[in-house]
């Protein structure tokens, strides 16, 4: 590939552990969740429920750690949305990537996500995440609705509906995300970075894309 590349350390150990365990849990939750939804049969309903619930609580625990880590390290700033260069990113994915044009975004330790990533991950964390957690929470504690006095305001049908909506959104995200990992400096540079922490990037700031 192009010789003018360099490597920078982007993802710290915690981030990598967080990412991969979260990835495994989400895929597992999708598998068990769609079985509970009746889309297919694999583990059997009871086992699927046990696995799904266990994985969900594990993911909750992981998120508690992740939130704590992001707040204490200031890494939460990585997700502050920006529209800067979003157009350049979109253009890159639509054209530049096919012509081997330089990547419009150069990751650094302080800006590890490109603007589209920022938006996408923020959407996952602020839209899909809460939707899935809140509906999942009510789903799990269905038996306690009456004790909480909430059985008049909630219906399992709609709780399940929005839980499923969020699951489909997560599935769509997963597919797009998996593919876009190949859209870095080289097809494997993003994946390598997520494993080793070191990301291969262009040596120089990319030229502004031609208008």
């Amino acid at each position: 590939m192009s010789g003018n590349s360099t490597k920078i350390y982007v993802f710290k150990v915690f981030e990598r552990i967080w990412h991969w365990s979260q990835a495994a849990l989400i895929i597992f939750l999708l598998l068990t969740g769609f079985e509970i939804h009746g889309a297919y049969a694999n583990f059997g309903f009871k086992t699927a429920v046990i696995y799904h619930t266990t994985a969900a609580w594990t993911l909750v625990g992981l998120w508690v750690f992740a939130i704590f880590w992001h707040l204490t390290t200031g890494e939460w700033r990585q997700y502050i949305p920006t529209l800067q260069k979003v157009d350049a990113m979109i253009k890159y994915y639509l054209t530049g990537i096919f012509t081997n044009a330089p990547h419009p975004f150069r990751a650094t330790r302080l800006r590890k996500h490109n603007p589209l990533q920022r938006l996408a991950y923020l959407a996952v964390m602020l839209a899909i995440g809460p939707l899935i957690w809140f509906t999942g929470w009510f789903y799990l504690f269905y038996g306690s609705w009456a004790d909480w006095g909430m059985d008049k305001y909630l219906s399992l049908e709609w709780v399940a509906f929005f839980h499923t909506v969020a699951a489909f959104m997560m599935l769509v995200f997963l597919i797009a995300h998996l593919y876009l990992t190949t859209a870095g400096h080289t097809p494997t540079s993003h994946i390598k970075a997520m494993i080793t922490g070191w990301e291969e990037v262009d040596a120089e700031e990319p030229a502004a894309p031609a208008k």
Partner: protein, 569 residues
Amino acid sequence: MREKHTRGALLGLLAGALALTVHLSWSANDPAPAPAAAPAKAAEGGKAAPQPGSVQLRAARTTADHSKFKELQQDFKSGPEVTKACLSCHTEAAKQVHKTKHWTWEFLNPDNGQKLGKKHVINNFCTAVPSNYAFCTACHVGYGWKDANYDFKSETNVDCLVCHDTTGDYKKLPGLAGHPAYKQMEFPPKSGRQVPAVDLQEVAQKVGATSRATCGACHFLGGGGDAVKHGDLDTSLKNPKRYLDVHMDANGLNFSCGTCHATKGHNIPGSRYTPTGKDDGGTHMRGKVDESNPATCQSCHGGKPHKGKQNGMITDKLNEHTEKIACQTCHIPQYARGNKPTKMSWDWSTAGKLKDGKPFTVKDSAGHESYATIKGNFTYESDVVPDYMWLNGKVKYTLLGDPVNPNGVTEINHYYGSAEDGKSRIWPVKIFRGKQPYDLETKSLLVPHTAAEYGVKDDAAFWQNFKWDAALKAGAEAAGQPFGGKFDFVKTEMTWPITHMVAPKEDALTCTQCHSRSGRLQKVEGIYMPGRDGKPWLDWIGWLAALGTLAGVIFHGGLRIYLANRKAG
């Protein structure tokens, strides 16, 4: 296994020696109806297992040996004579029986004022009692009810023995108006088979507590034969194994009917006329006055019956299910599980065909009557998966004079219930389908006069002459209904809640049997069930979005690879 049996037999002998007066039938193979077998005989069975304390206690509880009572040492000529002797000590017994449905065959439903009970209800089996008294009252706890003018005040007409017999020899024969055979007689009439005279003295001296066999003498044979009517009650429950009924298991808990239908003053609780759809009352406690139904599962097991060994998450989830699901729904996976097929349908409209001028029967491949001139066509099924419905305990019957639905199906009884009323649970039921006569003018069900008194020639009785006109006319007269002479047959359905034949927990339904697209509760409405329900349009949109994304990235990636290759090439 062999070692287990030997040890069991030894324990059995030991227990027998200790409890000298205990009369128990421990052999599951013993064909005799549940009752008395001397301890030595119990060991012969070779299958005696260690008995739970409750079983020994119950058998050892009695303090009276009725064979020692002078009152019973006489040559009884009839049932009422025995009753007279019983009442000389049990002074209040007949008065108590007089107040029960078992005696009056009448029940006023407090919910809607309907007059129910065998005297009034028309079902879609043998249909109705009026005009057929002498036959039907073989299952009346009394003697001599052969027409509408029966003396319900008579104390000596109460039949003590039918419920308290322990010999299995006391049998009331249809046609004798509630009497057993006092002398040897041919039964059924013209069958060539002989029924011996009952030894009343012997039976009277061996009376005891009611048993599965005594209750079953009627309730196992309802609808005209073994297993016909209920589906969850048949003679396989006389000595059931554990898999058939975990409570009545003859080698285990060995419950009698009365263990759950805990009776005070002869008034037996637990009735299909006013069933308990949802019991939130918790367990019954000694010393605490509790008039709620003692025959519900909850009256012993409480509202959160599932306990720990398995995954705690699942235990909690199962206990939440009790809010909406009757215990029976999961714990009675099928009914008619004892190798006795139950009748599922009965078409009276084909009855009366003759072959060479004579009545005949046709048997199905399993050897069961699929046609009989006297009754019409039947179907049977074993190990039947129940239907399921919301049930809150309210019932309405289609009674004499109530309109039927000639173009559709008429419900003999309608069970109310819904997901919303907070009083219902989802229950398993047997739905029995029939086709039976109704009056084309009044649009009311009709009462056919089918059976005559034993030995009486009766031209109007359908089972003697196979003439509907005469049978329906006589039936209507006895029932006090107008009948213009025009009739047809209407489709009917009768619903029977399933509550017996409770399987061991390992045989309960698995989650997937309901939580799937085409599971058992497929037709039950008003509730969201994960795995069964959802919004198909959401699934369409969701999967299309996922597939669209997949197609997009495949296209995008393919283009990248293609262009890279072209460049390289």
